[in-house]
Amino acid sequence: MYNPQLTSDGKLKHLLSIEGLPKKVLVQILDTAESFVSVAQRDVKKVPLLRGKTVCNIFFENSTRTRTTFEIAAKRLSADVINLNVNTSSQSKGEAILDTVNNLIAMHTDMFVVRHNQSGAAHLIAKHVPDNISVVNAGDGRHSHPTQGLLDVFTIRKYKPEMHNLRVALVGDVLHSRVARSEIHALTTLGVPEIRVIAPKTLLPNEVEKLGVHVFHDMKAGLKDVDVVMMLRLQSERMSGAMLPSTQEFFKTYGLTPEKLALAKPDAIVMHPGPMNRGVEIDSRVADSGQAVILPQVTYGIAIRMAVMAILAGGAA
């Protein structure tokens, strides 16, 4: 099938979703990120790869954390960065998404980092922009959040380099989670043999097993002997009623407590894309434990975003 994010010779043109990316492109991004991890530890935290380029963060949906990490990543690559928060209220006042984009194209930006609350928004923009502009999806609706998926597998690779010998569990609101979809595609592409999703039926998409995952409704059974536990944020703001009775009951059944974590392998790592709802999906005793790699995820997130931007700008091998 035609893949809108690759050039005709198989190079990365846009980063829209993990699905459809060949393994070699994924590995290229991860390896490139590896070389950027050290940039943050230097006195001068800058490399000149994007000097003279303008990166525009267009956020149609609010996000401080993701926008900040993209901003830092671009600045460490010496790009000029513009942040634009087009909140959905001004969208509903009538300006169509492509009108906003057209204005920014006219300002000669080189790269768009886009977040939108609708699935497919990044694809729409990528289809619309001229050839010299790359689009990075920073989250579209429930569909995809590819840099998050990449930084997650990057983190796993750091702690558990034997990817082809891992058991990974994703726990929580898979239905509304673009992070879960990206993680699942990244893990399957990199050859992780067993991916489990653990959630009540109301928080799983129909036919989720077609993504190549094993479905568990019982968290204790699902966590048995896993190497990686990836917790998902319970997106309560997207919850349109009747999916769960209460956050308390959710914590009791699907919250990650030390007792439940004890069922996983003793050296299992715990991940969370943030922001965490402590006491809803994760117990503070787990979140702050030595098994949690939640803050390293944030650190690596910057390296991953630098790698993606550098590759898209043609500045990295």
């Binding site: 035609y2 569909h143 998409p205």
Partner: protein, 427 residues
Amino acid sequence: MKILIKNGRIIDPKNNIDAKQDLYIAAGQIVGIGEAPKGFSANQTIDATGLIVAPGFVDLCARLREPGDEYKATLESELRAASAGGVTSLSCPPDTDPVLDEPGLVEMLKLRAWRHNLARIYPLGALTQKLEGKALTEMCELTEAGCAGFTQADHPIIDTQVLWRALEYAATFGYTVFLRPEEPFLAKDGVAHDGEVAGRLGLKGIPSAAESLRIAAVLRIAQETKAKIHFCRISTAEGVALIREAKKNGIAITADVSIHHLHLTEHDIGYFDSNANLKPPLRTLRDKDALCLGVKDGTIDAICSDHAPVDDDAKLLPFAEAEAGATGLELLLPLTLKWSSNHKASLQNAIAKITSEAAAILGINNGNLSVGANADIAIFDPEAAWQVTPTALKSQGKNTPFINMELTGKVIYTLMNGQITYQDKMK
């Protein structure tokens, strides 16, 4: 004006004719088939060698966008599209702005269409006022004004008591109620089939059960009220099975399917192609196969275009925000033919689905070539291939999942009321 159509292969499903014969037209009517009426001398002769001469097509669902949505399409542009597609009778749903819930609006629409003299239109009146699903419309008045039946278009009634009463009232007068079966709560905010693709793309799904539950409910109410129900645009295998069973049990119902659902599945959404945002949503391969078989075995009586021209701006949006619908009038013939060749159905059977069967559902005496009938005729080349491009389409709506594809089956002449209203440029 007297016209002779000679050397064509006449296919008239209603009269069970499939033969090479000449057709004679005078004063807007068919006056002879096979042999000339006494003293007939043609003013004009159409040579239909190698072509099929069929009744003008009858489309059960075509949105003309008037009144209210003239920036999407106009009566004139869409009636021209109908004519180019060989469609001479069409039924239009009432989801216009304002809604067709008053006799004056229906009369006005019919009058304006009549002036264009391109296709006969049979509006469906709103079943409830403003399609709100609360209060009944004046169905008798609306029928007098020219409504061929009543419908809620894409606004299913939520309150089942209102649904019951609406069907009861329509049954009192023998009016046909056209319902697109969808359980509104299960379908709420959904934009794609609740399956693999919606899960992967992160789109809100509409389960198949949204259709089958509503069919089951309506069938039960129809049994009680004896209402004449026509199910519009069935999309699921379960739906086909329920309708087949109901027909076997003698419940008087009919059903149609759109051209899109006979050929496309959820996978045709690809990477968020908003042209594939349709109501009902495209479903699975299994559903598509069941629909095709349902048409073949007669469970599904008719094929409609579900014509819904949408302006570009309303499609250049993220998938879920894009307006649903596709242009279809000019694709009705080629996609019906494609169904017949894919499923080894006879041409006569295929043409029946867009002529006599559809006409019977609307209760109109078109869609046949009987002597004395209106001379509404589609003459087409079943082998001619053409590419569905924006310029090839007469409709103002260029939105279709089939855009840029090559289809086979091309209308060469359309006659309405004994006059040539469309002629292919090549001829």
